[in-house]
């Protein structure tokens, strides 16, 4: 070894020690609390906040929104003896009121020793009451800009308070993750709309078209899907909601049915049920002068899964044809109902008609784009259903 190189080597190996320190920007995972869900409500201070404010923890703010943070602390908590469901051993909900979402999140640093990290936010729940008052894009501006919260997180609405949805009675359950699972059940049930994550939602809001968001209802013990909220593109505020029944019709129109149930009654008043195997919707738009018309063609194949009129044999071709007609009428009624509601009650297009029109008549669309909702209100929609009962399952009689 060259004598000169020796000193260089020693100096270099000393430098190597620097790399042995590991990450000096590290954060111990036990020291973190993970934010999994966000609830947004109309401002109403929680009792803790009241007490904190009384004893002096106060900063200047307009009280517009109350946020509910659902966090998972890494170290298991002792179950508090309090009877409320806002915390269990797995999660806890904290509330903060204010006028800037970011400030409220950072305000948590004043209240908890372990900082919250936003990388795992799965769901944002906004209460209908709040969406009626404040534009949805204002509420979501922060989460879209933030570099920690991923745009894959989904947005839901709640009929009641969002903080009520983010609770669970079962121990061992994290409400936010439950909600995500619930909305992913779309394949089994057609009254759940395809979920909208922040990216999709941002695109829709920017395009200025009206849209629906999945709605949730909460009872004392449970949270369930309950129709959808309609948000008008122009005002970006909530204008109304659709029932579960109407959402089902809407998913037939949008062609997003992947399975699920269609139920009606036969002449004798007995229940008959159809299980959807496949479904395809084609929407054709026509322009004649100033008049726009749509033709919705639904094609579906499925099976007769239940008939309570046990005297009828499902092997009977005539009976099957008759039942098919009943289902077709039912489906057409449903779809016409929801279209009427969109057009005449709320004056919005949330059925995706605008998208079809944009693709089929791009030139005309550019003219109507700005005020599509009212153009849709003036249009005519016709629904045709082609329903085939392919089989009757494993029971022939």
């Amino acid at each position: 070894m060259y004598p000169m190189k020796r000193q260089t080597l020693i100096a270099l190996s000393l430098l190597l020690m620097l790399s042995l320190t590991g990450c000096w920007g590290n954060k111990e995972i036990e020291e973190q609390t993970i934010l999994v869900g966000l609830g947004m409500d109309v401002a109403q201070r929680s009792s803790e906040e009241e007490q904190l404010a009384e004893s002096g923890s106060i900063y200047p703010r307009k009280e517009l929104v109350t946020l509910t943070f659902q966090i998972i602390p890494f170290q298991k908590r002792q179950v508090s003896s309090k009877s409320d469901k806002s915390s269990s051993d797995l999660y806890s909900n904290i509330q903060e009121t204010g006028d800037s979402i970011f400030q409220m999140i950072r305000q948590m640093a004043n209240r908890r020793s372990k900082p919250m990290m936003g990388h795992h936010v799965k769901v944002i729940v906004i209460s209908e009451e709040l969406a009626r008052k404040i534009e949805i894009d204002k509420l979501l501006k922060f989460v879209l800009r933030d570099n920690a919260i991923r745009p894959s997180c989904i947005v839901l609405m709640s009929k009641g308070k969002a903080s009520q949805v983010l609770v669970s009675n079962n121990s061992g359950e994290i409400p936010s993750l439950e909600l995500v699972g619930l909305v992913e059940n779309q394949g089994k049930s057609n009254n759940i709309l395809p979920s909208k994550n922040l990216t999709k939602l941002d695109g829709i809001i920017n395009s200025g078209s009206s849209f629906t968001l999945q709605n949730l209802a909460s009872s004392v013990d449970e949270v369930a899907v309950a129709g959808a909220s309609i948000i008008k593109g122009k005002t970006r505020k909530l204008v109304g909601s659709l029932s579960e029944w109407e959402v089902q019709a809407l998913s037939w129109i949008q062609g997003s049915v992947k399975g699920g149930v269609l139920k009606t009654i036969d002449q004798g008043g007995q229940t008959i049920t159809y299980e959807v195997i496949s479904e395809k919707t084609k929407i054709k738009s026509k322009v004649e002068g100033d008049k726009i018309s749509f033709e919705v063609n639904v094609k579906t194949i499925g099976r007769l899964i239940e008939n309570w009129d046990t005297r009828e044999s499902s092997e009977n071709e005539e009976y099957i044809r008759e039942v098919e007609k009943l289902f077709v009428r039912q489906l057409e009624d449903m779809m016409n109902d929801v279209i009427r509601k969109m057009r005449d009650t709320y004056h919005v297009d949330v059925g995706g008609f605008g998208d079809h029109f944009r693709i089929q008549h791009p030139k005309m669309w550019r003219k109507l784009e700005k005020d599509w909702d009212s153009a849709f209100t003036r249009s005519e929609v016709k629904c045709n259903v082609n329903l085939i009962i392919e089989d009757t399952g494993s029971s022939a009689k």
């Binding site: 990216t199 695109g203 829709i204």
Partner: protein, 364 residues
């Protein structure tokens, strides 16, 4: 040992050109296109822009082939006269320093947003510059061999993560095709050309090729690889996020990968992979630009390259720190991109015609 004057093979030329083109553009192109066109037809602009750049690349190759074994910096004096040529060479070398600096700054902006939040700006940029220096010190041969490793992994990882984003892909977002006619597409071409700049490397690479006669083929393949990747990126980003969603996203390609999670594939999130390979791409773009700039100065002043490599380091750092914020950075990059278009897309055909008319260089 690595020698500085080692000749590179044709495939190495392809790889170098591709790596140089694949820079910061792929992360922002979908937004730039969607924003300027307001339609989803950007993919047509990308193809047209790519073809245009291929033609410009061919002109550059033809021009370089007229001066065998000489780079632009050496033959510019023959072509334009002593003074004009030298000034032109120095301008181009300086231009490369600026572009290299802006590439670094874009790299910093993205890493600081998504990866290394608390690391100071100078630390990220400086470590990059040092690594870059290490690469280019080895000469073109070493650069080529490193790039040969980086490019395949880039293509594989990039295409793989883009395919995964099929989960949120909606073909309706890409329709209608040419709904607003051809005009927006032509408008978009000017943006896509900026992304494909890098073909001008042929000015210097042709001279170092083992088979300079294959340079034309090399530049076409070299451009078609980034053309393909940009096309995939654009289609998947618009399909996943829609034109309106892309417009409001600063780094749409990263945001696309942040918009979905895949459970049951060992990894759930794929934005990380994209960022890793993309940082390597910035490194390749940066280092070849710095190499070319040093080469330019050295050959113009007929000295060694080393001093210029070291001297350009602090200058690059300084320039990279100039833009005040992201918007200013985008604005300045756009201006420099436009200058690049003039020098490397509009000028070469003119020079070629000029050389042909006045019979400059070896006439075959």
């Amino acid at each position: 040992m690595l020698t500085e004057d080692k000749k590179i093979t044709t495939s190495q030329t392809v790889v170098i050109v591709s790596n140089c083109i694949l820079g910061s553009g792929i992360l922002t192109l979908p937004r730039v296109l969607a924003d300027s066109m307001k339609t989803s037809d950007g993919w047509i602009s990308i193809i047209l822009g790519g073809i245009l750049i291929m033609l410009a690349g061919l002109c550059i190759v033809r021009l370089s082939q007229r001066f065998p074994g000489k780079t632009l910096y050496q033959f510019s004096r023959e072509l334009m006269g002593k003074w004009c040529g030298s000034i032109f060479s120095i301008l181009i070398a300086t231009f490369y320093i600026f572009i290299a600096a802006f590439e670094l700054r874009v790299m910093f902006e993205v890493t600081t947003l998504y990866l290394l939040e608390d690391i100071p700006r100078w630390a990220i940029i400086m470590s990059f510059i040092w690594v870059g220096l290490y690469i280019i010190k080895g000469g073109l041969g070493a650069i080529a061999r490193l790039y040969e490793i980086i490019l395949p992994s880039t293509v594989v990882v990039f295409v793989f993560s883009m395919i995964l984003s099929g989960k949120i892909f909606e073909v309706d977002n890409l329709l209608p095709v040419l709904g607003d006619g051809i005009f927006p597409v032509i408008k978009g071409v000017s943006s896509t050309i900026l992304v494909f700049l890098g073909h001008e490397l042929m000015f210097t690479l042709t001279a170092s090729m083992q088979h300079p006669e294959k340079a034309g083929k090399a530049v076409i393949i070299g451009i078609s690889i980034p053309l393909f990747l940009n096309l995939v990126a654009f289609v998947m980003v618009i399909g996943g996020m829609s034109v309106h969603g892309v417009i409001s996203s600063t780094w749409p390609t990263v945001d696309l990968l942040r918009s979905f999670e895949i459970t049951g594939l060992f990894f759930e999130r794929f934005d990380f992979f994209l960022l890793v390979i993309w940082i390597m791409q910035i490194l390749t773009t940066f280092s070849i630009l710095q190499y070319n700039s040093s080469l330019g100065f050295a050959q113009t002043f007929k000295t060694r390259m080393r001093p210029f490599m070291f001297c350009s380091m602090p200058i690059i750092l300084f320039i990279a720190l100039i833009p005040r914020d992201v918007n200013e950075l985008f604005m300045v990059s756009k201006i420099f991109g436009d200058i690049g278009v003039v020098i490397f897309v509009i000028l070469p055909p003119l020079l070629l015609v000029y050389a042909k008319i006045f019979k400059k260089g070896a006439v075959r």
